[in-house]
């Protein structure tokens, strides 16, 4: 009886999500119709763009690596009740710190693997430092982490552009194409013929297992959850809210920094102006859509990654802007929120009816 009830509930849950997906697809179809495009053909091209050949499939995972990392990072701060909108900047600082160390160690005699490893650690430090700024502003300056984060993102962008056009500029003429690429032996080893590195995939798995353990099984995880639920009550219970919120920010920043570091050592092999590619914000949307669940987050991140890759072909094939992927991604989250609300109202009504009987 109970099992039947449970599966019934799961089915209900699933059907609400299905309606949310349908809603988002209908919404995007209307948008496409406004833009004078055929929805059917567009979705078909989107899927072809994502799975058309092996390179495209591999590229989906290339996007998935940083995206799932920052989505995981977002969950930490969200658990502590913080909306960390500064992940974008934390990725950039991770990339900047990594590039900095790589540049200074390029001529050193250390084995490349050590240099890459140290540079990634440096990137984590950079991301954590940038996150600590937002944390200090929030905890000691009374500035909402939302504004602190968004503001610091713009500062980080300016910082990286200044580096690319100033101190780190290419010999000759500086340009938006970034700094001088590193020597090929300092590139993270990728699967031959593709841009995807097995090391990155392993790192994502390690980070996710680590996050799961830290958030679900340790004192730290349980305490920041208490803060996120009710910070006043948590502080009355003797939890050092500030220290823990700061730790959550630092941990989040370190993982975001790692994502930036991997973009440098594994994908671009140099610093480019927009190295964060909007993954910081996208990661937040992924975590929201996955309801901060550790199993769903990598899956949703993969869905968003293939949408990103699929969108690349659209301007060439259909003269549509590739931001369509962004429209679809955000619409999914919006309709998910809507259906969540509908479900709550629906269940509440059902409960009241039961109480009445």
């Amino acid at each position: 009886m109970e099992i039947k009830n449970k599966s019934h509930k799961l089915l209900k849950h699933f059907s609400f999500s299905l309606v949310a997906v349908a809603g988002a697809l209908i919404f995007v179809s209307i948008i496409l119709w406004i833009a004078d495009a055929q929805p059917g053909l567009t979705f078909q091209k989107l899927i072809q763009g994502a799975f058309g050949d092996a390179t495209k499939i591999a590229n989906g995972f290339v996007v998935w690596v940083p995206l799932s990392l920052v989505a995981g990072a977002f969950i930490i701060t969200f658990t502590a009740g913080l909306w960390n909108l500064g992940i974008e900047g934390q990725i950039m600082l991770g990339a900047i710190f990594t590039t900095g160390l790589m540049r200074s160690m390029q001529t050193s005699a250390l084995p490349p693997a050590v240099i890459i490893f140290l540079s990634c650690l440096m990137g984590m430090v950079g991301g954590a430092l940038w996150a600590s700024l937002a944390g200090i502003l929030r905890l000691y300056g009374g500035v909402s982490e939302i504004f602190a984060g968004v503001g610091l993102n713009f500062v980080a962008t300016a910082f990286s552009i200044w580096l690319i056009f100033g101190p780190w500029k290419r010999p000759g003429v500086a340009s938006m194409s970034g700094t001088v690429p590193f020597d090929e032996k300092l590139w993270l080893v990728t699967i031959p013929g593709y841009r995807l590195s097995v090391w990155s995939l392993i790192l994502v798995a390690v980070v996710f297992v680590g996050l799961f353990v830290v958030l679900k099984k340790t004192r730290f995880g349980i305490q920041i959850k208490a803060i996120g639920k009710n910070s006043k009550a948590a502080s009355l219970m003797g939890i050092q809210t500030r220290k823990l919120m700061m730790s959550a920010m630092l941990l989040c920043g370190a993982i975001a920094g790692l994502a930036g570091a991997l973009q440098v050592v594994g994908v671009y092999h140099r610093l480019i102006p927009s190295i964060s590619s909007g993954y910081g914000f996208l990661g937040m949307l992924v975590a929201m859509l996955a309801n901060n669940d550790f199993i769903l987050t990598p899956l949703v991140a993969y869905l968003f990654s293939i949408l990103n890759i699929g969108g690349i072909q659209l301007p060439i094939d259909l003269h549509l802007d590739s931001t369509l992927s962004g429209v679809l991604q955000t619409a999914l989250v919006l309709f998910f929120l809507i259906m969540n609300g509908v479900k709550q109202r629906f269940l509440e009504k059902a409960e009241r009816k039961q109480d009445g009987e």
Binding site: A148, L337, G341
Partner: protein
């Protein structure tokens, strides 16, 4: 030289006009206890929609109306999701901010580089001939005049009219307002829609006047909305101070532009972000009095200085007490 300076100040007043209107709109929304974080998206989407509407009808009024309508629609979605469906205002606001931004880039793609009608300045007879004042305040476009008169209107509206007091009552003590028979969530719906419509008006003010045309992500409007939200806090939810904040912001940006010519070795993108650290800094200054350690630190100062600081500190920033807190009358 002096007239250069005057021209500059007049341009500050013109360029601040969309920020003034949007920030007053957001102030009205937040006064009723609702937080609208989608401002940045609304400005982008309404700038695009207003531009396209004006291009297709060759009519400026249609452009401004389209912008306000887009804002009102987004406001309705926000109110529906957060009030009726009880979802987090922060979550819905942020999602809408990014959805609107992507929508503006996607739908505006076909209209990039087109030219729509542009609003011209309409000097007010006689007044514009006055020395200094005439140039500063009476030689602008209609939209700038609108931004100027919206400051006293919003002030009177919030402090003297029944409808304005209604907003404040549901923003401060929704339970008390409810007990007196006020439809709390109805009032909040109206204020979110009204405030968002004003934010939506800011978009076409850019795309049909200050920064004519639509250039996608190169339009340079991304980020303004966050500044608007920060200015609303900076101005303590007071329309007059919020407008002062907007003028101060544009003034500083103008100074940055003037000085940009002196730092030729710094890429222009770097100086363009100067407003954002500035925004953070002002927020710190505004909020610092509420920090716990502040009291401890200023106690170390000599008594006269301490007295001066606490005297000023007593004027509390009037954040609506139930800002961002949902109200459910069950």
């Amino acid at each position: 030289m002096e007239s250069d300076f005057l021209v500059g100040l007049a341009s500050v007043i013109a360029f601040a006009s969309p920020i003034v209107i949007a920030a007053i709109g957001e102030t009205l929304t937040e006064k009723s206890g609702m937080l609208n974080l989608s401002v940045n998206g609304i400005i982008l989407l309404s700038a695009m929609a207003g531009f396209v509407a004006a291009y297709q009808t060759q009519n400026l009024v249609a452009g401004y109306l389209a912008g306000a309508l887009v804002g009102a629609m987004i406001g309705f979605v926000l109110a529906f999701c957060s009030i009726t469906l009880n979802q987090s205002q922060v979550a819905v606001g942020l999602v809408l901010a990014f959805l609107c931004r992507d929508l503006s880039y996607f739908l505006g793609n076909d209209f990039m580089g087109f030219s729509a009608p542009v609003i011209h300045s309409a000097p007010i007879p006689f007044l514009s001939d006055l020395p200094i004042v005439g140039m500063l305040f009476f030689d602008h476009t209609v939209m700038v005049y609108l931004s100027l008169i919206s400051i006293p209107i919003a002030t009177v509206w919030l402090n003297k009219t029944r409808f304005g007091l209604l907003a404040r009552s549901v923003g401060e003590r929704p339970e008390a307002a409810f007990a007196r028979g006020i439809n709390v969530n109805g009032v909040r719906y109206l204020y979110v829609i009204l405030g968002s419509a004003m934010v939506g008006l800011a978009g076409p003010i850019y795309s049909l006047g200050l920064k004519p045309g639509w250039k996608g992500s190169m339009t340079g409007l991304d980020g303004i909305g966050w500044i608007v939200l920060a200015i609303t806090i900076f101005g303590g939810w007071n329309p007059f101070k919020v407008s002062l904040g907007s003028y101060l912001f544009e003034f500083l940006r103008w100074i940055g532009l003037v000085y940009q010519t002196k730092f030729t070795n710094v890429p222009s993108q770097v100086l363009q972000v100067a407003p954002f650290p500035l925004m953070i800094l002002t927020l710190v200054l505004v909020n610092i009095k509420n920090a716990e350690w502040y009291e401890a630190v200023i106690r170390l100062l000599p008594p006269p200085l301490y007295k001066l600081l606490t005297l000023k500190g007593k004027r509390k920033k009037a954040a609506p007490s139930s800002l961002g807190i949902p109200f459910r009358n069950v």
